[in-house]
């Protein structure tokens, strides 16, 4: 993989820049802004965009720009934590399914297919309702990971299986390398790249999931801002403008991450070199 090949794809480059800009905005705005994201000021409530409040204020007179940024932080943090779990889980499951004896591997693959077909949101809701008495950010992270690890497992499995037919692996086998050696030395390191692709494919899905369950009142709790809780407030009080903000945030993030993932996939795919 050459970084330059990635940089030569305009879409991937724009996506990467957009992602960095979004993350930077989420990190910097709360530090630089003079407004307290939790300070209630009814004299200022429901303002449109002004010089003082670039995105306006919400029902409690809180600055929406700061809340969007803080919300982005929270959404990203939850998604990133869930992503870490997913990558580990997916990598382990995918590689075991690919490297195990054929019978076991086929069984694991069948199970994966079955689990993928299950409707995720109802199961996510069941889990969150079940743990609601002890609900906190950690349970949310775990629940998101439990219903979203399958794509990564599938990608890792596919990568290892396709690697097994590549010349250098066949050559290693031909010179008598043990299969455990081949797995540790050739297959697993070379399938790490696909994790990067999986990460950029999963991140927007996780951010969206967080928003979906928060809108249903099962995610983070107000006044903690996340893109989901901002949307939840907006829906509860019937204000379209406030709903558009987090939706656009989610959409922008999804588009940027997708472009990066596409670019990475092209670069990592040996056929395109």
């Amino acid at each position: 993989m050459t970084p330059r090949a990635f940089l030569h794809r305009p879409q991937a480059l724009v996506g990467a820049v957009l992602l960095v800009a979004l993350v930077a905005a989420c990190l910097l705005v709360p530090v630089l802004s003079p407004h307290d994201p939790y300070a209630v000021d009814f004299a200022q409530k429901l303002q449109g965009p002004t010089a003082d409040h670039p995105l306006g204020t919400d029902f409690f007179g809180r600055d929406l720009l700061v809340r969007m940024a803080l919300g982005g932080r929270a959404s990203l943090l939850v998604a990133a934590a869930a992503l870490a779990l997913i990558l580990v889980l997916g990598f382990v499951y995918g590689s075991v399914a690919a490297l195990a004896r054929p019978r076991l591997g086929a069984l694991l693959l069948r199970v994966l297919d079955a689990v993928i077909a299950l409707p995720r949101l109802p199961i996510l809701i069941v889990i969150l309702v079940a743990v609601r008495l002890q609900a906190n950010v950690l349970t949310l992270v775990f629940a998101l990971a439990v219903v979203n690890w399958m794509l990564t497992a599938r990608l890792v499995h596919g990568q290892i299986v396709s690697l097994q037919e590549r010349e250098f692996v066949v050559a290693a086998r031909a010179v008598g390398a043990r299969s455990s050696w081949i797995a540790v030395r050739h297959l697993l390191p070379n399938s790490l790249g696909i994790l990067l692709v999986a990460a950029f494919l999963e991140l927007p899905a996780l951010i969206l999931s967080e928003a979906l369950v928060s809108v249903l009142g099962l995610g983070l709790n107000p006044p903690q801002a996340s893109w989901g809780t901002i949307a939840q407030d907006a829906i509860g009080q019937g204000r379209t403008y406030e709903l558009v903000l987090p939706s656009v945030g989610i959409a922008l993030f999804a588009i940027a991450a997708n472009w990066v993932a596409d670019g990475l996939q092209d670069v990592l795919d040996p056929r395109s070199l």
Binding site: A117, P122, V126, V129, A130, L133, L212, G217, A231, A251
Partner: protein, 290 residues
């Protein structure tokens, strides 16, 4: 199923736990209720009884309203959700295919970019945004269409809203597939024979671009199920996901279980049907059988 059961049963909490400041339910009444709902058995017995009931499609009474059984709710609400999803697909698939074909086959880059970006936007903007805007303005403020699910006029808008994301997804899939197919030699042959371009695109390319669409039934179904959770509520549609959310909020375990099983079964049957359809459409898959 065991997992769902264990989660809900092991979650602690009980329907008899009063909110702070409210009187407890008298103990004899509690015991009577426990017996009625089979909650007095140890949990393995409870689970086995439950499995036996579910196997015979008897999900038992609701824990919140003892005169309503879960079966009744499933029977009434599942067809509503199925109808909503089918109506959404009826709109989403043709629109998505058209959008995808246009953006793959057009020679103008601007048209392609416009169609692709439109499809992407449909896919990535969260469904609750569209649902909220449509229900707020079309139903509540302007009163153009009624809410609920009684008249056909009420069904159009929710189905459209639910179909937006699947349409975007379909368009992206078809665009990718059609771009590949257009490079196939037989498309060149067709052109050499003197066939018009629309005929090539809509007859030769279309058919072969549909296979990846049917193969992608799982994500499509996920979009529909997820979407239903955010469309049924705002439009006041008495579908399975609306019931599911109410039941989840009132900790009505049998209801949640029954609806989870029903929704899961629905999704599995639908993806099975899509697989069969894909096999019927794709000569390569058909060949493998024989």
């Amino acid at each position: 199923m065991l997992v769902t059961f264990a989660l809900l049963r092991g979650a602690g909490g009980s329907p008899f736990e009063p909110p702070p400041g409210f009187a407890r339910v008298p103990l004899p009444v509690q015991n009577e209720l426990r017996r009625f709902y089979n909650l007095d058995e140890p949990w393995p017995v409870e689970f086995l009884t439950y499995v036996r009931n579910v196997a015979t499609l008897d999900f038992g009474p609701s824990q919140v309203d003892r005169y309503t059984t879960v079966d009744q709710v499933v029977e009434q609400s599942l067809p509503v959700t199925i109808q909503l999803a089918l109506l959404a697909l009826l709109f989403a698939v043709p629109v998505g295919i058209l959008l995808g074909l246009v953006s793959a086959a057009t020679s103008r880059r601007a048209a392609d970019a416009a169609a692709s970006s439109f499809a992407t936007l449909l896919l990535v903007l969260p469904v609750f945004l569209f649902a909220q805007i449509a229900s707020k303005w079309l139903v509540q403020e302007w009163g153009l269409v009624p809410g609920g699910w009684d008249e056909w006029r009420a069904k159009v808008v929710p189905a459209l809203v639910l179909g937006l994301a699947p349409a975007g997804y379909t368009a992206r899939l078809v665009r990718a597939a059609a771009t590949e197919v257009l490079r196939e030699p037989y498309v060149g042959t067709a052109r050499a024979k003197g066939l018009r371009r629309p005929r090539i695109v809509f007859v030769h390319v279309l058919r072969n671009s549909l296979v990846p669409l049917l193969a992608a039934s799982v994500p499509l179904l996920a979009l529909l199920v997820t979407g239903a959770f955010f469309v049924e509520g705002p439009f006041g549609i008495p579908g399975a996901s609306a019931w599911f959310l109410t039941a989840a909020q009132t900790r009505d375990y049998p209801m949640v279980m029954g609806l989870t099983v029903a929704l899961t079964a629905l999704v599995l049957v639908a993806s099975l049907l899509a697989d069969v359809a894909a096999a019927a459409l794709d000569p390569r898959v058909r060949e493998r059988r024989t």
